[in-house]
Structures are given as C-alpha cells and as structure tokens.
C-alpha cells in the first residue's frame, strides 16, 4: 500500500512540475507569450488597457499582478479546468480539447492496441526463432522504424495506397467533405472509418517495431530463466509453457510501457495527425504553435501531461496487480 501512496505522491509532484514548467515558459521567461500578445495588440493600435483586457480574456490570471499571484491564479485555473481562451479559434480551450480528444483517443487507441498485440506476438515469435532469417528481417525492420519519423512512412502510404492505387480516400481529414458530421449515421461512420484507416495503418506500422523489440528482448531473457527449463524438464506441454511460463512473464514489463503509451496517446500522434489533417490534440498543438496561440498550446500540453502522468500511475497499479512479487512488498 505504501508503494501505491509513494507512486501517487510522485505523480502529483510531476503534475505540479508540468504546470510549473508551463507557467514558467508561458509567463516568466523574457519575451514570454503573454507579453508578446500584449505587444501584438498594442501594435494593432489598441491602447494598453484595451490590449490588457483582451489578454485578460484569454488567460486565467491578471498579467499585471505580482508574479506569484499570477502563478496561484494559473494553478487555480488549471484545477478548475479553466485553461484560458483561444483567440484564433474564438473558443474556450476546454471546448477545443473536448472536440479534439475523442478524435485522438479513437484513432490512437485503436492503433495502440493493434500495434501492441501484433508487436508482442511477433516479438515473442522471433525470440523463439532467433537467428533465423525471419528474425533478422523483422528485427531490422523494427529497429529502423523506431528511428523513423512517423510522417515519412505516412507520405509513402498516402502516395502509394491512396493516390496511386486509390484504395483509400485521397482527401485528408477525419471524414469526407460531403458528410454531415452533425448526423451520426451510417454514412458518417463508414466515412470516419475509411479516413481513419490510413492514419491507423501508419501508426501501427511505425510503432509496432518498438513493441517487437521490447517483447523480443523480454522473451529472450525469460527463455534464459531456470523456470522455463524446469517446466520443460517436467514435461509440460509447449502451449502451457509458451503462455503461462514464458508469455506471462515476458509481457509483464511491457504492460507498464503500454499504460504509459495510453497516457502519451493524449498527445496524439503529432506527425500523423498533422499529415492526415486529423483534428486531434497533436494537430491543435501544432496549429496553436504556428498561429502563436499560446493558450491553446499550453492547454494541449497540459492535457497531455495529465494523461501521461495518469497513464504512468495506471501502469504502476496495473503492474502491482499483475506481478505477485510487487504486490506483497
């Protein structure tokens, strides 16, 4: 139990740090976004008071107040769920996030589950067949893709599968241009699925590699354990050994990574969402940056941080449920 408390405390501290880093970048460093925004309105010919009142609408604190009060107000705002106001999109940040999160969660969670499952299966398989040609090919593929920015494969896939072969819609975005998103009907759903296929494929193909490599090395180290040899010596059936003795132990350390990835997921697949014009968190983060819409940027960053920290906590709890060695400590 103390272990869980410890992890929770660490998570809270991390969140606190994330918020502080954000505030630091947002307000404290010279030439910070809030000053920039004020200067921007001043350059448009507004009076200082008018500029200030406009900025005041966007951020949850008073830029003229002492720094520590701004910080406290910012913290309060974050706790209330008030992340400010986006001037480029003319909407509260929370509403934008509310629109973006489902798209990210939808596309990335499917991708994550597929790539995780494929990854552990292939990783385990090549661990058994290590040294074979198939192992060499898959391992090579895996180590290359982990170093490859995701949009690079995306370009090839769009170019070949969508544009050359026409198997997938050519137009980018979450659904077709003629679909009415306000009606949740079959047409909308099929269009969404068709448009999600390529981003998901890209994500799976690029992120599977690291699962494969992790599972391979994990499996190899488990295969070297005495209890596997002992199970063979006891005449257990291969299937039982592969699942309960090798599989369960090999996949354990990966579960933590999986849960962490669930958290990271809220950051969206930055490059993929931008390439496919997919309106998730990663896309809005980039829009915010290119439009210098800092409330939007901080909002996206914070939600990602929160999710990652929670994902981490979840990972630790999950691990303690799955591994009896931790549970009893």
């Amino acid at each position: 139990m103390r272990w869980i408390v410890r992890k929770t405390v660490l998570s809270v501290i991390t969140l606190f740090c994330a918020v502080t880093i954000t505030f630091f970048l947002y307000r404290v460093i010279p030439g910070n976004p809030v000053d920039l925004m004020i200067n921007y309105y001043l350059s448009l010919g507004y009076s200082y008071e008018e500029a200030l009142s406009r900025v005041l609408m966007m951020v949850p604190f008073v830029p003229t107040a002492p720094l520590h009060e701004q910080y406290v107000d910012f913290l309060k705002g974050v706790l209330r769920g008030d992340l400010g106001y986006s001037f480029t999109l003319a909407q509260p940040i929370t509403r934008i996030l509310g629109y973006a999160i489902p798209w990210t969660v939808f596309s990335v969670s499917i991708s994550l589950v597929i790539s995780f499952l494929l990854g552990i299966m292939m990783g385990m398989y090549i661990a058994y067949k290590r040294g074979s040609l198939l192992d060499k090919i898959i391992s090579f593929y895996s180590s290359i893709t982990t170093a490859m920015p995701q949009n690079i494969l995306g370009f090839f896939l769009i170019w070949s599968l969508a544009i050359q072969l026409g198997w997938f819609p050519k137009e980018l975005g979450p659904y077709g241009p003629r679909v009415d998103p306000s009606k949740f009907n079959l047409e909308f759903i099929t269009s969404v699925l068709r448009h999600a296929a390529l981003p998901i494929l890209t994500y799976v193909l690029t992120s599977m590699g690291s699962w494969i490599l992790m599972m391979k090395s994990s499996t190899i180290s488990v295969l070297g354990e005495y209890y596997v040899t002992a199970a063979e010596a006891r005449g257990l059936k291969d299937r039982r050994i592969v699942t309960t003795y090798v599989g369960r132990n090999a996949v354990l350390p990966l579960f933590t990574r999986f849960a962490i990835s669930l958290g990271f997921m809220f950051g969206g697949a930055l490059l993929i969402e931008n390439l496919f014009l997919y309106p998730g968190i990663g896309r809005y983060l980039t829009i915010g940056i290119s439009m210098r819409d800092y409330p939007l940027v901080t909002g996206c960053f914070l939600i990602t941080s929160v999710a990652t920290v929670l994902g981490n906590l979840l990972a630790d709890l999950l691990y303690s449920r799955l591994d009896p060695r931790i549970r009893f400590e």
């Binding site: 209890y227 010596a233 006891r234 257990l236 059936k237 132990n249 591994d323 009896p324 060695r325």
Partner: protein, 331 residues
Amino acid sequence: MSPAAGKNRDVLLSIRGLTVEFRVPRGILRAVDNLDLDVYDDEVLGLVGESGCGKSVLAHTILRIVDPNGRIAGGKIMFKGKDILSMSKEELRRFRWKEIAIVFQGAFNSFNPVIRVFEHMLDTTYAHDEKASKEEIVKRSKELMRMVRLDPDAVLERYPHELSGGMKQRAVAAMAMLLDPKLLILDEPFSALDVLTQKFFMKTLVDIRRETRKSMIFITHDLAQVAEIADRVAVMYGGVIVEAAGVEDIFYRPRHPYTRALLKAVPSIVGSIDELKPLPGPLPDPVNPPPGCEFHPRCPHRIEICSKIRPELEQVDDVSLVACHRWRELN
C-alpha cells in the same frame, strides 16, 4: 551401508559413447566426450567433479535439455531398453518427470514467479495425466511437502518469492517426486542451503530413497557430500568418467591418480593436514583438451603413452571401472 553396489542388479540407465558439444566464440567445446556410464536400480550414484568437468551437462543431456548452442553429437542413452535420444518430441515430453525427474542446480529459481507453488503441481500432473483429480493432487502435494519437512499449508498457496531459498529448494525436491519417477537426478541440490539445513535435507533424501527404492544420481563438487550419501561414485574429469566404484573403494582404495590427488587436495575438519597437497597445473581447457589422457599434464605418474592414447574405461571388478593406463602397476 550400501550392499555391493551394482552387483547383480538391473541396469536402469545406460549411457554409451555420449558426446555433447557447444559452440563457443573460441571454437567447439566438447563438454562430454565419448562417455560411458551405467546407473543401476535402487542405487544412489554420486557424480563428482570440479567445475567445468561436464557433470551438469551430462545431467541435463539425460533429459535432453541442451542449450541452443549445444548439440548432442553422438551416443546412446538407454532407459529401460529405450533410447532417450531417439524419442519423438511427444514421447520425450511424456517421458520427462514421469520416468526421470531432475532438480537443477539453481533449483530455487525453478518456480514461475507469477503462479503459486500449487499451480506448479497442477501443471505438472495435468501434463502427464489430463484426467487427474484435483483432490488427489492436493493430497499428494501435501504428503510430499511433509516428506521434505515443509508445512504444506504455508507453502502450497504461496507465491515462490514468498519462500526462502531453502524452502524453495525443498519444495522443488518434493515436486520431483510428484509423479514417482524411477530415477531422480539431483544437480548440486544444496547450493542455496546452509550447512544445518543441508544435513537434514541429506537425511531426508536417504529416507526417501530407502522407502521408495528410487535410483538417484547425486551430482556435486563436494566429496564429503558424496561420502555421506552415495552407494557408488563416478569421478568425472575433462568430460569423461575416469573412475567409478563403490563409495568405500573410491575413498579408501582410489585407483585413478586424479581421484587420489583430489582426495588429498580437499581439506576436512578432521584428520591430519600434513598429507594434503595441492594439485599442480590448471584444469584442462575444454576447447583445446590435451591429447591422450586428459589428466596427463597434471599427473605425477605419467609416462609416454599417457600423452598419446586416451585410456579406455576398464572393468576392474564387478562394480569398479577405471580409465588409466597404469592402474594395475600403481596399486
């Protein structure tokens, strides 16, 4: 004391010309080199040798457990008239544990950390008998735990990491008897135990042996343990058996120069130390073994032939065998 070990007994396990090789960065390592050995019904065979002599590899090979970089290069292992090395995969699976069980050197690591001790018992029984009843397995497991002086309730429902090293080791030994195998191989089974627990465990083994009439191969580097438990002793050096004889012959009338030298090199808590003498020279390099008799570079009695021809294992009497060109004259 042991009866004239091996005499007029049935051979249970018979190894002929066994060779096991490993690929290592430096070349081919021949861990077991054209080895012959018999194990009789109802006997404890002590297999002694220093590290790297191939005794563990031999034990593993009997159950055909060989590292991926290793290979059984030749020979036969006959068990009750059947060659283990030519069994099919499924035959081998059914054979393991049912006929021969093994307690590994790292026995305390033999449990899958994510399942309870009892699940290991279930797994093992079901692998050989799908229709086994759970109550039967519970009953049998409890009985075995008591046999190795463990409290069944405190062990069976626990996860392996909750047990101490000594408890795990004894639980593994109990598991080895689950299917009542004919032959039990114990590979340095005491490595994690303190001296006091060792003593009790050894007595337990002797009791089990007396009750069940099982055969055991007891592998160790410790001559004293062999003296305590074995009926017959096989001494291994450089991948071969150099001498095999009844335990008293080995300790009181050793024939092979290596056996003699080893006995003199091991200090005890009794007796004079004046006769103790270190062996000269290093152990043979298994990748580049010396020609002829493996022991000749360290042997005080070597003559020319020793460096040229490898001595065969010769029958001395009913039970004793020795592989030395000069054993007759040296006695």
